[in-house]
């Protein structure tokens, strides 16, 4: 568009070429570490230690993955993570959307009160320790509930949904009310269907967020029986006892001798990342949509 008005000088062309080159390099640098891990995860362990594996596995093997999938801790971690995503996303979406709808009801006298009640929490919070003590008192430590209940209502998403609904003509809801529908019914049968684009964007943010959470696991669920996949990966990164365990098993079961902590870590990293990378192309456009919806605020 602008280019029409500018003569393409030599300097301009040089800039364009170097810009493309630079951004190509940038793209490569951003993606390569992931790719490198992918390649290492498919390589034999002892061989990988020699280094020099850059683009293709030198000695291909699926053993690292096989060992991981036989490992029950990884599988429970995966189940917990998936459960988190499912429960956490659906509950937060429902509660925040409901609140978003309520704050969009024009004649509701408590509308401003509810809105401010939650907006304040966006800026003021108790901090890590008072929250921890509260969870302690509520008996939520070492439970699954703590993965979703404290996050039930998100003021940010409430605002997004609320401003979206404010653009919807009130007559839609009034008609239903005149017909005697309850507010909950209006919510499920009218609000939800017309808000699908917003809800889709918000649910994707929520799913990614829930999948990536690890610190609440570390802080609250210290006993380890509710460990998520992220936590499993973290343990693996930081503890060398995994290394010893692998070595011991490798000696005992000869067929798994081709793994090392390095390849196991690489495989685990890929397992944790793959769900996001794979679904990424599909939901990518919702992120942009979500931002513009949020920028109404």
């Amino acid at each position: 568009m602008r280019a029409r008005y500018i003569r393409k000088s030599v300097g301009s062309r040089i800039f364009d070429a170097s810009n493309v080159a630079f951004l190509l390099l940038f793209t490569f640098l951003v993606l390569y570490p992931f790719y490198n891990q992918l390649v290492i995860s498919f390589n034999q362990g002892i061989d990988a230690q020699r280094g020099g594996i850059y683009f293709f596995p030198r000695a291909f093997t699926l053993d690292s993955y096989a060992w991981l999938f036989k490992n029950s801790k990884l599988l429970t971690g995966a189940v917990v993570s998936l459960l988190r995503v499912a429960v956490g996303t659906s509950t937060c979406l429902f509660a925040s959307a409901l609140l978003g709808y309520i704050t969009a009801i024009r004649y509701f006298s408590g509308r401003r009160f509810m809105r401010i009640l939650f907006v304040i929490t966006m800026y003021f919070g108790g901090g890590m320790i008072p929250t921890y003590l509260l969870m302690l008192k509520l008996g939520l430590l070492n439970t699954f509930t703590i993965y979703w209940l404290p996050y039930l209502i998100s003021p940010y998403y409430m605002l997004i949904i609320s401003s979206y609904l404010n653009q919807v003509p009130d007559s839609l809801f009034e008609a239903a009310r005149v017909d005697g529908a309850s507010e909950l019914r209006i919510f499920f049968q009218i609000v939800v269907p017309i808000s699908v684009p917003v809800l889709a964007a918000v649910s994707i943010y929520l799913m990614v967020w829930q999948w990536n959470q690890w610190f609440d696991n570390m802080l609250y669920n210290t006993k380890g029986n509710w460990d998520t996949l992220q936590m499993y990966l973290r343990r693996m990164l930081l503890q060398s006892e995994i290394a010893l365990k692998i070595q011991a098993e490798a000696v005992a079961y000869h067929k798994f001798m081709s793994m090392t902590p390095q390849t196991i870590k690489a495989a685990t990293t890929m397992i944790v990342t793959i769900p996001i990378l794979v679904t990424y192309p599909f939901f990518q456009r919702y992120f942009i949509g979500g931002i513009t919806l949020g920028s109404v605020k």
Binding site: Y5, Y280, I291, T292
Partner: protein, 311 residues
């Protein structure tokens, strides 16, 4: 509403209950949730000012005022912690703030097409990956057996592996680069959409005035997104004390502690790991007060000089 409100309060109340009763009913559990999970912790900040004994209600505990705050300031590690926090936060802003702007400007200069889309899409992949995964990638890259060292060794640029993650002096650089890697693409989206909002006529006027592409960028684009830049700058400055937390916990090692310990990790270490709840609360609270103060003072400064305001 065109309907006149009746003067008698009881009738008004009755009407309100009729129309809004259901809504208020739904609101009750919502309000209860907010009180429990959002406002009770705020009340818990009071533990920073009392001699806290677990189990004893706040109201009945002896008041110690600013004792914990004083204790934090007098702590010999205080200097190190503040230095790390400000250094990491400051470097994050120094390098991490311009980076997405520059990326947005460069991407904007690409002609429309698949390459432009690919660059954008790829640039925000790291944003969606967790810090645990990032840490794993960083270990694999910078570890003593990692990719970078293997590369350096094979090119004979160094005789022995450089312990990037084991020596404190590299830590700040690593963290800043990691933050940029993770956030640059995502933040650039905001700037790109701001750039898209610039009036096209300004470009034409600039061309008439003889501006080249560099001139366009400097005289039209940057001033055009000035509001966005300053807004985000204020917000990020207010965050300067939030020099990261997950990154330090994941990337830090005991050897690098003197470089990675920041206010939040300190509060976590002493507040929760060692159970000194009141002390940890005081430390965290102090940090948020300073952060708020920074936002407000920067905001009023900007409001008076350049007429931009967040609050």
């Amino acid at each position: 509403m065109a309907i006149m409100q009746p003067r008698v309060f009881s009738i008004r109340l009755h009407r309100t209950v009729q129309r809004e009763g259901q809504i208020w009913l739904i609101c009750l559990p919502i309000i209860a949730w907010a009180v429990v999970f959002c406002y009770l912790p705020i009340y818990g900040i009071a533990t920073a000012f009392i001699q806290y004994v677990p189990g004893k209600p706040i109201m009945r505990s002896p008041w110690v005022g600013l004792q914990y705050f004083a204790e934090f300031f007098k702590n010999p590690e205080f200097g190190m912690i503040m230095r790390n926090t400000l250094a990491i936060g400051g470097l994050n802003i120094l390098f991490g703030f311009p980076a997405p702007i520059i990326l947005a400007l460069l991407i904007n200069e690409l002609s429309q097409g698949p390459f432009k889309k690919v660059v954008q899409t790829v640039s925000y992949v790291p944003y969606f990956v967790s810090w645990v995964v990032m840490a794993s990638l960083i270990f694999a890259l910078l570890g003593s057996e990692g990719l970078l060292n293997k590369l350096l060794l094979s090119l004979h640029l160094t005789e022995r592996s450089i312990l990037f993650l084991g020596e404190g002096k590299y830590f700040w650089g690593i963290i800043v680069i990691a933050n940029i890697w993770k956030g640059i693409g995502w933040s650039s989206i905001i700037y790109l959409s701001a750039i898209a909002g610039i009036d096209q006529e300004l470009y034409q006027a600039g061309a008439v005035d003889g501006l080249g592409r560099a001139g366009m960028a400097w005289h039209i684009i940057l001033p055009g997104i000035r509001a966005t830049i300053l807004l985000l700058f204020i917000l990020q400055m207010g965050d300067i004390l939030n020099a990261g937390f997950e990154q330090q916990l994941l990337l830090g090692t005991p050897q690098t502690r003197s470089f990675y310990e920041v206010i939040e990790t300190y509060a976590y270490r002493y507040g929760i790991q060692m159970g000194r709840y009141a002390f940890g609360t005081a430390v965290e609270f102090m940090k948020s007060i300073i952060g708020l103060g920074l936002v407000f003072s920067l905001n009023s400064l900007f409001r008076r000089t350049v007429k931009i305001s967040v609050v």
